[in-house]
């Protein structure tokens, strides 16, 4: 990466990056203010809630972050509409099953198979296009999470309103979903998403691309050879060519990215310890 070519390529535009920034802030905020409630019996929960300013403050901040979450979700939907209406020139159907789409396809299944082969040294690393299968999983997980955790959260936020239409035991269902989905989401992000994008050997300690929006030529060739090839053939590569990341942006990205990484890892360690004790306790009680 020290090969300093004097140009880089855009992978994410400003809207992508801003929306992801909103996700980072709101997701960490939701986890910090929500997890103490899920693990209310543990010592760190008590300290964390006191630190945030008491449960009223935690509850308020949790809702603020929820609003940001709904905001970026709606923002993304509006962007999608704009994308298909204005930016995208391809026919809709062709786009959806094309390489720039988030929709999973057969190649993704092949890639998964080939990745496992590569893990065991039985084949070369598969060549990826613009979006890999784990990135698509991340993307759709947010949609799934949005309905599950967002829907249940909204119900629990306005119980008297929702009880005009649904029976009260649905709040019990919502509580279970909200709590378990929270564990699923934060466990997934703070372990697997972090490893997929940042902690694995190729990228450690941080993949700057979501903050700077830029890839070096080497990165683009190595990580997304099919995309590079495609862009080169179509002659579109010049469209995304840009100047190297300004130093301030790189430093800013490092600070924000590493901080978020560390906060997430701390949270998941706390969750892990608490779950471990809880499971041990349950297993011991059963025996």
């Amino acid at each position: 990466m020290s090969n300093s070519s004097n140009h880089e390529y855009f992978r994410f535009n400003l809207i992508h990056r801003l929306l992801h920034g909103a996700i980072i802030i709101s997701f960490l905020g939701l986890a910090i203010t929500g997890m103490p409630l899920k693990y209310s019996g543990s010592d760190w929960s008590y300290r964390l809630v006191r630190w945030v300013g008491g449960f009223e403050a935690a509850a308020f901040l949790h809702r603020v972050c929820a609003v940001i979450t709904f905001g970026y979700f709606i923002g993304h939907l509006i962007y999608l509409a704009y994308f298909f209406a204005v930016i995208n020139k391809e026919p809709f159907g062709k786009f959806i099953f094309g390489p720039n789409s988030m929709v999973p396809n057969l190649k993704d299944l092949r890639d998964i198979r080939d990745m496992f082969k590569w893990f065991f040294g039985l084949g070369p690393k598969p060549k990826f296009d613009r979006f890999t299968y784990w990135e698509k999983f991340d993307y759709w997980a947010v949609f799934w999470g949005m309905f599950m955790i967002g829907g249940s959260g909204l119900m629990l936020w306005f119980p008297t309103f929702f009880s005009k239409y649904v029976p009260g035991w649905l709040f019990n269902v919502a509580t279970i979903i909200h709590s378990d989905e929270a564990l699923l989401a934060s466990g997934f992000i703070f372990i697997f998403h972090y490893i997929h994008t940042h902690i694995r050997g190729e990228k450690f300690p941080l993949d700057y691309v979501i903050f700077t929006g830029r890839l070096t030529e080497e990165e683009l060739k190595e990580e997304r050879p099919l995309e590079y090839q495609r862009l080169l053939e179509k002659g579109e590569i010049e469209e995304i060519k840009t100047n190297p990341t300004p130093r301030w942006l790189r430093n800013f990205s490092a600070i924000v990215g590493l901080s978020a990484l560390i906060v997430g890892i701390i949270i998941v360690i706390l969750i892990g310890i608490t779950e471990y004790h809880h499971i041990k306790h349950v297993l011991l009680a059963n025996h």
Binding site: P36, K164, I177
Partner: protein
């Protein structure tokens, strides 16, 4: 003239020697008369008073080394009527303390206790051997009550040298005052300190198997104790208001004021209205039926460390208290939003009593119950304005692991747990076990290769 001068001096000397000579009266001289058992004098109302003195009694007493004349101030033998012995000369402090005490102020002279009335005449004992229940000579009815109390029984059993509270341990010795005199050790505001002389000591508690070792400390920090010490509130309960004074008994003794049978009546002496409501509640009824698990006042409020009901710490503690009997309800409550907030130490959300009531708890089937079908909407509405029939179908004490009672919740949890295990299972293998090590092996080997090439290049140069 010289002879006259000698006579004069002799008389002067005689004058000087006269008192000395009286002090020189030996005990043997006294016993010359008082050793005779038949020596009597006429007392008041025609009584015959013996003047016989047994010297051995004096010898064994604390005053054993004294001479008769040290106390009985006579000038010559034989002597005329003597003044009553005054102890003041030596025991100034005790005398000062006695002055103004209730005993000194007894109007009838023949009932008024003097030093000898309590301490005896010639057989005055050391403090430790002071006759145990000398007070009963006058205060017989109090003694009769005391002797059956926990203190009385133990004191009688353990004898004179025990450290069990007897009359003077609580009431004092010389400076005894009426109970409503602020100087009295048993005055309402002073009494806790008096009891605390013993009941703040862990050592004594251990020695005598007293279940509550620090009753004094706990009480002093309680709402009752603070009212006494901080506000000087005479109507606040002190030790004896609950335990009784002379008739203190163990709580397992049915006659005790703090026994299961009586404790609510005791609290009701002040908290009459609350106890009235309690008696009508399911807990009160169970107690009356003799249910050994029915909670009394102290089961929830504790005995000594009673707090104000609006203090957060108590509001949180009482949840645990309810849970000692209602175990399952406490577990399911802890899993609910309400329970989790209280577990974090905040009290703004519903606690047991907010839904079930406190002193007026009734069965759910009882229409008076706050959680009865008739009143549930009203109860939920007190925090959730706008709660309706749907709203109250929320299951406050849900157990999603109970398939039979909560099938929908069970399958929700089942699905969510399955999803969690599937996702985490797949990615743990894919990402943590396989990709992560593979990617790091790649990174390290690449780095080595680079170094290797670099090395060759250096050599080439």
């Amino acid at each position: 003239m010289r002879k006259a001068c000698h006579y004069y001096l002799l008389i002067l000397l005689l004058f000087c020697f006269f008192p000395l000579k009286a002090h020189g009266i030996t005990n043997e001289e006294c016993l010359g008369c008082h050793g005779d058992k038949g020596l009597t004098k006429a007392g008041p109302k025609g009584k015959v008073v013996s003047l016989y003195v047994e010297l051995d009694v004096l010898k064994k007493s604390v005053h054993g080394k004294f001479k008769c004349v040290d106390c009985h101030l006579i000038k010559e033998v034989p002597h005329d009527r003597v003044k009553e012995v005054s102890c003041e000369g030596c025991h100034k402090k005790a005398f000062e303390a006695f002055k103004g005490s209730i005993h000194e102020q007894v109007k009838k002279a023949d009932l008024r206790p003097s030093c000898k009335g309590c301490h005896g005449k010639h057989d005055i004992k050391k403090k430790e051997e002071f006759p145990h229940f000398v007070c009963k000579n006058c205060h017989l009815s109090s003694y009769e009550v005391y002797k059956d109390s926990v203190h009385g029984k133990a004191a009688i059993k353990e004898g004179k040298h025990s450290d069990i509270a007897t009359c003077h341990d609580c009431h004092g010795g010389h400076a005894i005052y009426k109970a409503n005199d602020p100087r009295s050790s048993v005055y309402h505001l002073n009494l806790p300190h008096t009891c605390g002389k013993c009941h703040a000591s862990e050592e004594l508690a251990k020695k005598h198997n007293i279940p509550v070792a620090n009753a004094y400390q706990l009480y002093m920090d309680s709402i009752h104790g603070r009212a006494i010490t901080k506000s000087g509130l005479l109507v606040s309960a002190n030790c004896t208001d609950c335990h009784g004074g002379h008739d203190i008994r163990k709580h397992i003794d049915p006659k005790s004021t703090i026994s299961r049978e009586n404790v609510c009546k005791t609290c009701g002496k002040c908290h009459a209205g609350i106890v009235e409501v309690y008696r009508e509640s399911i807990h009160g009824k169970l107690l009356l039926e003799g249910n050994p698990n029915a909670p009394t006042c102290v089961s929830c409020h504790t005995a000594h460390e009673i707090k104000r009901a609006d203090v957060p710490r108590w509001q949180l503690e009482v949840i645990r208290e309810c849970g000692t009997c209602h175990k399952e309800s406490r577990t399911t409550y802890k899993d609910s939003y309400h329970g989790k907030i209280t577990a974090l130490g905040f009290t703004r959300v519903a606690k047991c009593a907010d839904c079930h009531g406190a002193h007026d708890i009734q069965r759910k089937s009882d229409p008076r119950s706050r959680i009865s079908e008739q009143r549930l909407i009203e109860t939920c509405s007190s925090c959730h304005p706008g709660a309706n029939e749907n709203f109250v179908k929320f299951i406050c004490h849900a157990d999603p692991t109970d398939k039979d009672r909560f099938p929908i919740l069970f399958y929700t949890l089942f699905f969510m747990t399955g999803l969690l295990l599937a996702v985490f299972g797949f990615f743990t293998i894919h990402t943590v076990f396989l990709w992560l090590p593979r990617s790091w092996i790649e990174r390290i080997s690449k780095k080595r290769k680079k170094e290797h090439i670099g090395g060759d290049y250096e050599q080439f140069k």
